[in-house]
Symmetry: C2
Subunit: 207 residues, 2 copies
DNA sequence: CCTACCGATCGGTAGG
DNA sequence: CCTACCGATCGGTAGG
């Protein structure tokens, strides 16, 4: 059974991740979260030992949501190039439908904590590393040359899409990102500068 | 003559931009800035009318520094593809040499304010728009197809390079970014999907 | 989960 | 540019 306390905790984390995607993890305050959720400050605080523990719990929660909404659905697509496209598509959908009110939680968290030492930063960095490693793995399975470059490019385009839509309110950003990713996967799969891809056939598509 | 007050103001803004690149514009506090600069709170505050005015002044200062250190030096290169490469090179140098202690001020500011309405956000968005428009202009002068895509890609790779170095402390990020940009400019300049570039010769190189 | 409270710090002001 | 101060809010605690 899922206890009342854990349901309350989930509701706190969901709301906190939403707020953090807009105002940042440091912008979260125990007082304003409590008033949003109609609890007392100390009632909310009792679920966590400190503000840092709250921030860590929010990062964990956001990782679970990312896995649920972007990584898991893409497992339907065969490994390699098609799964890479599925990741991009689900990521853009996630942005387009504003799963978190402030766009990509990870883009916001990475920028905010990239110069602050501590456990929160380490947790955010781990999440980003896992994502980059998975992109690189699929690029390699797709037989694309320089898979680390492909992973870096796709990751970067995600950051760009998030920035263009959130900051510039540029509605063309989604189409632009889709076109750019199509373009880059096509270009990479083509012989360029005399370096053909290792294989055009996805040998491990069934794994 | 440059008055004492304006020199003090410059010193405040330089230090504030440095701090903001690490802790964000909202993380700036009048008290900590004053103590860093060995002034009284109200002494520092007197240079600005409010915290928001201070943030706006910091954004303006950062725009001037970006123009000085990235845009101006690249004017040495001929317009078009070479200038695009020069922009990338100077941007990466700017990151590599940590002109601001926390890496790219603009990447940090864009993430932080992308969901907060107000004058500060508008100023940041304007700065980003100017940069994207200049990248697109040079891509067009270079005769590259889809200049808006090229601009978006280069902008995104800058965000990626900043994130990889600051958050992941990944020292390969600079080389990876340089390689990726070389790759993308080469791929774009090549006939792909039956669409040749408008012109391989930079007709307006002398402008 | 609550009320009631703590010391510290916030942005900002008065008056010089 | 300074000292001295304001009300509000911060993270966190005591005690229940």
């Amino acid at each position: 059974m899922v206890g009342k306390a854990s349901r309350t905790r989930y509701a706190i984390l969901q709301h906190a991740a939403d707020r953090a995607s807009m105002d940042g993890l440091e912008g979260l305050t125990i007082g304003s979260l409590a008033s949003d959720l109609q609890m007392s400050k100390s009632g909310l605080f009792a679920h966590f030992g400190s503000k840092e523990d709250l921030q860590l719990a929010v990062v964990e929660h956001a990782a679970a949501r990312f896995a649920e909404e972007i990584v898991a659905p893409a497992q339907q697509a065969p490994a390699g190039g098609e799964r890479l496209r599925a990741y991009c598509e689900h990521y853009l959908d996630h942005l387009e439908h504003s799963v978190f009110a402030g766009g990509c939680f990870w883009a916001a968290a990475a920028c905010e904590f990239d110069d602050r030492p501590g456990a929160v930063r380490d947790a955010i960095a781990d999440g980003v590393r896992v994502w980059l490693a998975e992109l690189e793995r699929q690029a390699r399975l797709a037989g694309l040359p320089r898979p680390a470059e492909v992973a870096f490019e796709i990751y970067s385009l995600g950051l760009g899409a998030n920035a263009c839509t959130r900051l510039l309110h540029d509605t063309r950003a989604f189409a632009l990102t889709r076109a750019t990713i199509q373009q880059l996967l096509a270009a990479r799969a083509t012989t360029i500068n005399g370096e053909p891809p290792a294989s055009r056939v996805n040998l491990r598509a069934g794994e």
